[in-house]
Amino acid sequence: MIEAEGIRKHFGSHQALKGVSFRVEDGQIVALMGANGAGKSTLFDILATIDSDFEGRALVDGFDVRTHPKDARARIGYVPGRFSLYGDLSVTENLEFFAGAYGCRAEDIETLSPCLWKSLGDFTHFRADTLSGGMKQKLAICCALVHNPSMLLLDEPTVGVDPVSRYDMWKEIGTLRDKGVSVLVSTHYLDEAGLADRILFLHEGETLLFDSPEHIIRSYPHRLYSLPCSPAELPQFEAALNAEPGVLDHYLWGDSLHFTADASYAGTPLCGRKPSPVEPGIEDIFIDTLSSGRKRL
């Protein structure tokens, strides 16, 4: 279990975290969301015992990360956002290095994370810096799991990872959860956030939301519409949306535009096309929350 109580952190005059509290139960996945610069990585560094200069309290399985960092560290697997691997060591050597640092056996990875390790099977003799971005991330997770931690901290583990490999990683994260591991994971892929048990949404160092994806979606305040639109039609459609009374915001959505509206908009066609009402997803919530709350930097 991870418990954070009123965590505050300053960098000079900049307040990176302004009193963040939450809890990750055993066997729970909490997705950490927020714009770039919201304070996510700062929070990870604090929980991983790397940064002890903060106010508030953080406990890992009951161990205070500031007063008992060694006990906390033994229970944490951490994959930082920046690559944590040694580029000039091979895949196997990286794993052996991390196993050695924790005083455990590298071979144990075959039972701890069979799927991820197997997917690296053809590359075990490759130097880590010659691997593709997705492979590096899989190896970094294996290195963080080798000592069988009960808490996993993953800072954007799927950046640069292709869609199929992302799916594989999440399958593995789900297996770990089912074994009772607490997982705190940040991501910008909002389809992934929907797979978590709870979402912690940080904005400029403050908690905007901490709830289950279902509750968050249910509390969406607007009507949401989708309007099919090709890239070439964008300027024309955006102009029409800007001029339409009742339309609040609009944004790109794959082969369409999504737009939010209040009750005064009656679903009238725009540029001769009829918008269809759609159910919001986590990404719609994210955009809405940020657009209404975003300030400069």
Partner: protein, 220 residues
């Protein structure tokens, strides 16, 4: 007129065939999306178009010097916003007057005024990528090449960057962009999907796949 013509290009690293007989072209105003699994050969192909590595076989013809934004941040982390703009603009051979004008327009459009003298390593990644993009197009290249420009960006920053890409294409710039966000495939005018070094599908996004889920099939 074609701005980029790639014909029967291959590249090998030791025994590994990274790019296998690829033929592609790019016209002005087009946004060509490169999709594919990690290791499919996207970055290798992009690096050959930028003339950073030589193909083992085939030919590549590119009009002018492409603007290039690579996966790892292409800014000098220790330098400020102002210094990065000056540094790259000078490398591209822009005159003093032009550099000053371009800097003003970048700072104004990205609203970076208060952060002009901040080291770029202290900028959030959304702003860094937007700055990186602005620097890649600072010398008005006819061709713009973006390798996973939206990796690690939040939903709003990602959409802001795509607006910048669309604006450049509307001016006639030819754009090649790789991405792992399947929704972004539909922001392109044409797709080329790579698997094991080859182009396995191509065409207008709607002709290649009607949904994001369908696109996934090409990755397996």
């Amino acid at each position: 007129m074609k701005l980029v013509e790639i014909s029967h290009v291959s590249k090998r690293f030791g025994k590994f065939l990274a790019v296998d007989d690829v033929t592609l072209d790019l016209s002005g105003g087009e946004i060509l999306g490169l999709l594919g699994a990690n290791g499919a050969g996207k970055t290798t192909l992009i690096r050959m178009v930028c003339d950073l590595i030589r193909p083992d076989g085939g030919q590549i013809a590119v009009t002018g010097r492409p603007g290039y934004m690579c996966q790892t941040f292409s800014l000098v982390e220790e330098l400020t916003v102002h210094e990065n703009i000056r540094f790259y603009a000078t490398l591209y051979g822009l005159g003093r007057q032009t550099v000053a004008e371009r800097e003003e327009s970048i700072v104004a459009s990205l609203e970076l005024g208060p952060y002009r003298d901040r080291q770029v390593k202290f900028l959030p990644s959304g702003w860094r990528q937007a700055l990186s993009f602005s620097i890649a197009v600072i010398a008005d290249p006819p061709v713009l090449i973006l390798d996973e420009p939206t990796s690690g960006l939040d939903s709003l920053s990602r959409r802001r960057l795509w607006k910048m890409i669309h604006a450049k294409a509307a001016e006639g710039t030819g754009v090649i962009v790789s991405t792992h966000y399947l929704d972004e495939a539909f922001y392109c005018s044409r797709l080329a999907i790579m698997n094991s070094g080859r182009i396995v599908a191509g065409g207008a996004p709607k002709d290649v796949a009607s949904t994001q889920q369908d696109l996934l099939g090409f990755f397996r």
